[in-house]
Symmetry: C2
Subunit: 342 residues, 2 copies
């Protein structure tokens, strides 16, 4: 059934009557209705309360008219039950970061339906709510991005700790990555079993390394993860931020869709990736600060760059910014639909 | 005389007996001898005291054996006398950011020898100290990067203010950029007149925009700046961080050398840029956290990627990180010299 959605058809490179569009981080702080829910609970409580997580997932579908919903959660949700105490202050912080082989050995692989039941329950609620309306995207962090947080203990500018481990203790790094990849595989397969109709893998930090290091230290694990998913009719979207210079390498991970940030022209990216891969992107999120005429011109430019090739999902090149006017986001969605209508 | 330096020869694409190397931010916090000077003065005081600024500029030449020195200063030094109160906390902060046409009109173009005499005096001291030993690189921020700081008032993650101005008030943006470009031109020409033997233009934020926006909103001003320099025998290095996907556009600015970050392979970058432009780069700065064997292998890899093409200046892909072991930086310089020796 789900193949009747434009979003799913575009993931498979099939023709659509208009270009599907959604926004990374479309459930979030820029929406007053989201902020109203958030006033009652912390961010983590929101992730762990299925009814509320479902409510904020639905909000942007009602408001924006997006063609796909994405589960409201955080990429670090399944990492906490591996044995790391997680807090948001407001950025994520792990009290006990992973630094040694003993730290890696102490990590356990969660039993998903027991350790993160709220994620699966949110998915089940959403499937009932959305049936026949929009498909639901599940998601997880790429193993490298999860490992960055686990080793650094928090966000970082220079990623000194993970780089020290990667270069100086490659065996510890490899055993951590193997464990995170296996956890990730089970987590995303549990989401698929619960009803997710597509999976997006976020590699927020995959672009911090050189292309050579990406291929050596990052790609093998993402590839293993994607190969280990129960894909069948479930398309996999792979988004590596800052990867415009190495899309030929990113493609090797084997996803159905490659997510693009705004640092590379869409046409150029499609030329590199070839016709067998769909793409998702790639409007600069700050363009939503612009007057409407400029937003419309930018949507048109990106559609023109795509030149009618099948397999385009319109999106921002990164998450929507919290200070954006929601009306501008809604207008952007409308522009994509209107300008791409066959 | 200065054309006898390997660094200068490499800038012009001439053959050298070994690859010249220096490190962006080579005078800095990673060096204990720098920290000793810094204990006595604030960062701004250090920039404004020629004897001390000269001392820390010389330190890495003595310690690392680098092939070029770069003036110790900050890209915002000439912006302060335009009428913006500058502080470091520790990142740069302007008390009164530029937001309106009236703010732009209120900016004055400094008289360089009167308003920033310490910069020119530092250059004169260094030329005396270095004569016949190493060439001295002067530098400035690219107009766009300076404007980002002036409009945001500080560092930013999303650059909402400058984007709002760029898209929503293009006339204000253009008049600000014209004024900053003219200031920059006079500032860099004053450095050349004082004795700078090469000029590096840092566009730290040039990569935050899409390639299309770079060409429309950033490139015209950098091009005008470069065209307005009294270049004659002074090579110009143009470094735009995060520009690996748009080097073909960056090249149009007309510099003699294009600086590369580590997100693109050196060989690929040279293929895009062609033989008429020299390049500078591009070791991932975090590789200096690695054991020495790994550092040596990475230096070798980059030299191999260059495949003996003339016009290579070895450098990091961004500034050296403050927590790096200085001995690793010194070892890197030694590797470049040893492995590239003819």
């Amino acid at each position: 059934m789900s193949t009747e959605y434009n979003f799913i058809k575009a993931c498979w490179g099939q023709p659509v009557d208009r270009t599907p569009v959604w926004l990374m981080r479309q459930a979030g702080r820029y929406l007053p209705q989201y902020m109203e829910v958030r006033r009652k609970v912390t961010f983590l409580e929101l992730c762990k309360t299925p009814e509320l997580a479902a409510e904020v997932t639905i909000q942007p579908i009602d408001y924006l008219g997006a063609d796909a919903a994405i589960l409201f959660s955080d990429i670090l949700t399944p990492v906490e039950p591996m044995g790391l105490k997680l807090d948001f202050v407001p950025g994520p912080v792990f009290e006990n970061p992973v630094r040694t082989q003993a730290d890696v050995d102490a990590l356990r692989i969660p039993v998903m339906e027991e350790d993160v039941p709220y994620v699966m329950e949110t998915i089940r609620i959403l499937r009932r709510e959305f049936e026949g309306r929009v498909p639901l995207i599940g998601f997880g962090g790429a193993p490298f991005t999860l490992a960055c947080y686990m080793v650094e203990g928090k966000g970082s500018k220079d990623f000194a700790q993970i780089k020290r481990m990667m270069y100086g203790a490659p065996d510890v790094y490899a055993s951590l990555m193997e464990k995170v990849t296996e956890m990730d595989r089970q987590y995303l397969n549990a989401q698929i079993a619960a009803g997710a109709q597509a999976i997006q893998i976020f590699d927020t930090w995959g672009g911090i390394v050189s292309p050579v290091d990406y291929e050596k230290y990052v790609l093998p694990y993402t590839t293993k993860l994607i190969n280990g998913l129960n894909r069948k009719d479930i398309p996999v979207i792979h988004f590596v931020k800052g990867a415009g210079t190495m899309l030929d390498i990113v493609k090797k991970a084997g996803s159905d869709v490659v997510g693009l940030d705004w640092h590379i022209g869409l046409g150029k990216a499609r030329d590199i990736l070839g016709p067998e891969v769909a793409v998702q992107g790639n409007l600069d999120p700050t363009v939503l600060y612009a007057p409407k005429a400029h937003i419309e011109a930018e949507v048109k430019r990106i559609l023109d760059e795509n030149a009618g090739r099948p397999g385009l999902i319109f999106n921002l090149g990164h998450g929507i910014l919290p200070t954006v006017d929601p009306e501008h986001a809604r207008f952007m969605v409308e522009c994509v639909h209107r300008l791409s209508q066959k």
